[in-house]
Amino acid sequence: MGHLILRVTIKLLFAPILLFALYVQFHGDYGPGGGFQAGVIFAAAFILHALGFGLGSCQRVIPPNWLPVGMALGVLIYMGCGFYTMFLGGNFLDYDVIQPDSTHHAGQHIGIVVVEIGVGLAVAATMLQIFYAFAGREPEPMDDAW
């Protein structure tokens, strides 16, 4: 358990960080950001929570056995988008065939959003997985302080 001030600050910041991650995720077409950054920010919110309140309370929200599923699902969403465009008769990841004859390039926009969701899910799950793997181990007893 962290210091009281840290815990109160983390509680205040937790929801805005998640909201910011979603903003970065879905605003990637218009401004800086995208799936990679959003996934990292999303994972950072939970890592911050785990640092302040302990790993156990974080793992009650996101159980560790969900994370490999999230990692694989993100990659599968990305690849699935590619195979979907192939089944529609285009090239791999050729988003134009999703919504052909569109003057506003709707197919490209749908493809980019879907692919970015896959990236965000894979990156967020992987970052949390790595953190869980490191932080879940019992440290050796140390003779010197920090």
Partner: protein
């Protein structure tokens, strides 16, 4: 008459100089801070301080990328380098030693020589590089210019970086996602046996 000619010449010279995004002293200041942070990271023996300084180094790099108008790179550097990496290094430090072991003088000579030769080669290579932001530079002239020209008609998203990343080079980005996935998988295989069982502590060797 002379004055007007001189002014025209000055204006022409100002136009031919590539546009630098920020005041030059901001960039020099940030580079000096980066240099100072790197030196203190080398001299520091306490690994906790080194981890925190590496986070500061990433944050300074992000500020430098903003000064170079590369906001997407700066965003990634701030989120990954200053955020996640620092925490992961700290959790790694928590599992291992807190202090760096001193190294003999003799064993430091070869790394120093390698670093000096590599650094000298990099400085030598920068002499051939085009000026920053130059329109005729190879990075800006051919495929980069094509992306800038074609994005409004091909894809029509305002952020060209996203257009290149997710559409023009979507196959590359898929490879990057697989790399991230593989990194998580490797950590899971090497460290996270307890995580699969539901997050219990790893009690290898107690049976």
């Amino acid at each position: 008459m002379m004055m007007a000619d001189e002014q025209a010449a000055v204006a022409q010279a100002a136009e031919s100089v590539p546009a630098v995004s920020g005041p030059i002293f901001v960039e020099i200041f940030l580079l000096a801070l980066l240099f100072a942070t790197a030196i203190s990271m080398i001299r520091m023996r306490q690994l906790f301080s080194v981890a925190m300084l590496s986070g500061i180094y990433s944050l300074l790099s992000a500020a430098f990328f903003v000064a170079l108008d590369a906001v997407d790179v700066a965003f990634t550097e701030a989120a990954v380098g200053a955020g996640i990496s620092t925490v992961l290094i700290l959790t790694g430090v928590a599992l291992t030693a807190k202090w760096e072991m001193p190294v003999d003088r003799e064993r430091q000579i070869l790394p120093l020589a390698i670093v000096i030769v590599t650094g000298g080669a990099l400085f030598y290579a920068t002499l051939d590089m085009p000026a920053f932001g130059e329109a005729t530079a190879p990075a800006n002239a051919y495929v980069g210019q094509a992306y800038i020209d074609q994005t409004p008609t091909d894809i029509d998203v305002p952020n060209i970086v996203t257009a290149v990343l997710a559409s023009y080079r979507g196959f590359d980005t898929m490879g990057e996602v697989v790399v991230v996935f593989t990194a998580g998988l490797a950590c899971l295989l090497l460290l996270g046996v307890g995580a699969i069982r539901g997050g219990g502590r790893n009690d290898d060797g107690e049976h």
